[in-house]
Amino acid sequence: MESLFDLSLINSTLRMMAPLLLAGLGGAICSRVGVFNVGLDGLMLMGAFLGVAANAYTHNVWLAILIAVIGTTIFSALYAYMTINLQANMIVTGIAINFLSIGITTFALRTIFDVQGAYYNNEMQGLPTWEIPVIDQIPLLGNLLSGQSPIVYLGILCTIVMYFFFKKSVAGSHFDAVGINPIAAKSQGIKVKRIQYQAVLISGVLCALAGAQLSLGQVTMFSENMTAGRGFIALVATMLGQSNPIGVFLSSGLFGFTEAISIRLQGLNVPTNFTLMLPYVITILAMFIFKDKTQLSALKNSAGSSR
């Protein structure tokens, strides 16, 4: 097909990967401190809903995002409390969080907006797209990278910030320490629970942004269960990227890219189910190349709590 690798492919990849990247980074920061967060999908959905709901009331997209972030962070505190304080099984809690947010958003959709299925509203302003001044000028790159929603850029920024946080900052090394050996960290006077809380809350913020990118960046509406399982793909990105921000960026990029490709491949004479499979198959193939030799500490923790 002539348009398989056109310029808009990169553009499209960036858009598609942004929610995966942000939620994946949220998963990464959790797993760095030893929390295996399966609730990313639910947190994202909550963020998507709150973004739209707040936007409908405040008519201000920025304020809406702020409210989505605050609300989702509070919601993620529930997950933190259950797993960190009450030592509930991380995976069960995560799945329950996903169910809960589907329930809450659907219920709220009905009670607040009196609609079922989806809420949209022509007056509602979505996120603008930003033309990035300098990059904009560069002939080819400008077209490729410019003109995305601010959250896409924020996702890239978060990757960089998180990379430096873990690589360069003292706090970052404390986060790692908690994930590597919580008992040792505690014996050195580190407040392990507090750090785990911080990580979960940060993942709340990141998932809120991921959700907002879906409901206010990519489209301007909310529909029931609109994350369509992206939280689990983000989880795969977290694991595949070995909880390293750059790794998460690359793996969510790979996923976004293959998904963009798979849309284009639908024109070919291949059964659609096979083209839809492409991102998953490619990701598995990618694992043959980037082998995961290190055991995730979060994994061990969650497996430990499962016995």
């Binding site: 259950m82 329950a96 499979m277 990701t283 694992m287 082998k291």
Partner: protein, 350 residues
């Protein structure tokens, strides 16, 4: 040390969790403006109200029990199998196709198609184990991804080569299984079928294997400490492969039994939408991978499902509220309440 005391905490814990869950559920119901008592009454009735509802609950528990047993088996051997959904779907679609297209009859047909479904599902899970063993591919990621592939692949099978084109239908599905090959009902007029007997027997068999056989011992030791197991002469590869195979076969059986006992055909989405696999996973986790415990928890989780159906039918509480109550109950059930609360109280008391 004090056995009585520990036994008491074992029971107090989930009880407290259920109470807290119900309390939070109460808030949700009150928000929706319905009577709390009526709603909970309907929930109870929907799950256990009379023989019909009780058998429905048990019927719904069948795939959850089987998928849960599968997950639990792999857990015991130390492997985190997140691929129950894919395995379940593979088992179901295989069984449906084999029943309809291979020239066997009646009981034989039923047995062969169930075994075929279990085998394919087992091999599907084996594949993930092989990739981990041979290429160090993280089992968690591969099993998660294989779920999507299985669902799409099964979808392809029933919308292209094996689609039922006879009825003027629109849903991708296979042809219906003939009467003789179906799993018979346990009681006439009720939905509960022999799959339940199979599930219960398997739970007991697996409990026996785990506790009383050398193979079960090998599986448990491998799950507890790989190095210790290897030191003692246990073949890690062999146990890993067999336990993943068994795990997949159980999940596959969940699908086969759903096909032959309830739907009588494979319908796209009919087995993934109800989240049987994930519910089974939760049951296994909540029961610490104990087979009998998994069965009990699975029935409890199924009761939450059928109970919320009752709420949906007979009250104005929206469907989503029953979803909320259900999620809240699950959320609190695994919390370690008593420990913390009692400990805190002790400390404060001093």
């Amino acid at each position: 040390m004090n056995k009585l005391k520990t036994n008491a905490t074992v029971f107090i814990q989930p009880l407290l969790a259920v109470i807290v869950g119900l309390l939070v559920g109460t808030i949700a119901i009150m928000l929706s403006g319905e009577s709390v008592i009526v709603t909970y009454q309907e929930m109870w009735d929907g799950a256990f109200g009379n023989l019909y509802f009780l058998t429905n609950t048990l019927e719904r528990a069948i795939p959850i029990i089987l998928a849960g047993l599968g997950v639990a088996f792999a857990f015991r051997a130390g492997f985190f199998n997140l691929g129950a959904e894919g395995q379940l779907v593979m088992g179901a679609v295989t069984t449906a196709i084999v029943t309809v297209y291979l020239p066997f009859q009646g009981l034989l047909n039923m047995v062969i198609s169930i075994i075929a479904g279990m085998l394919i599902a087992g091999l599907y899970s084996f594949l993930a184990g092989w990739m981990e063993q041979r290429f160090q591919i993280n089992l968690l990621i591969s099993t998660l991804l294989l779920n999507y592939i299985a669902v799409l692949f099964a979808g392809y099978l029933v919308s292209e080569p094996f689609r039922d084109t006879s009825s003027a239908g629109g849903v991708p599905q296979t042809v219906m299984v003939d009467e003789a090959s179906r799993l018979p009902k346990l009681l006439t007029g009720m939905n509960l079928h022999y799959g339940f007997v199979i599930a219960i027997i398997l739970a007991i068999v697996i409990a026996f294997i785990m506790k009383r056989t050398t193979f079960g011992y090998e599986v448990r030791m491998l799950g507890q400490n790989v190095f210790f197991a290897q030191y003692g002469g246990i073949n890690r590869k062999k146990i890993m492969f067999t336990s993943l195979l068994i795990s997949g076969m159980l999940a596959g059986l969940a699908g086969s039994v759903e096909v032959l006992g309830i739907h009588y055909r494979f319908i796209e989405g009919a087995l993934s939408n109800p989240q049987f696999a994930w519910t089974g996973l939760m049951a296994a986790l909540l029961a610490n991978s104990n087979p009998i415990g998994t069965t009990v928890v699975a029935i409890f989780l199924a009761a939450l499902d059928t109970g919320s159906l009752g709420v949906e039918r007979n009250t104005d509480v929206p469907n989503s509220i029953s979803g909320i109550i259900q999620a809240v109950l699950i959320l609190f059930i695994s919390a370690k309440f008593t420990m913390n609360f009692l400990n805190q109280r002790k400390k404060e008391g001093k």
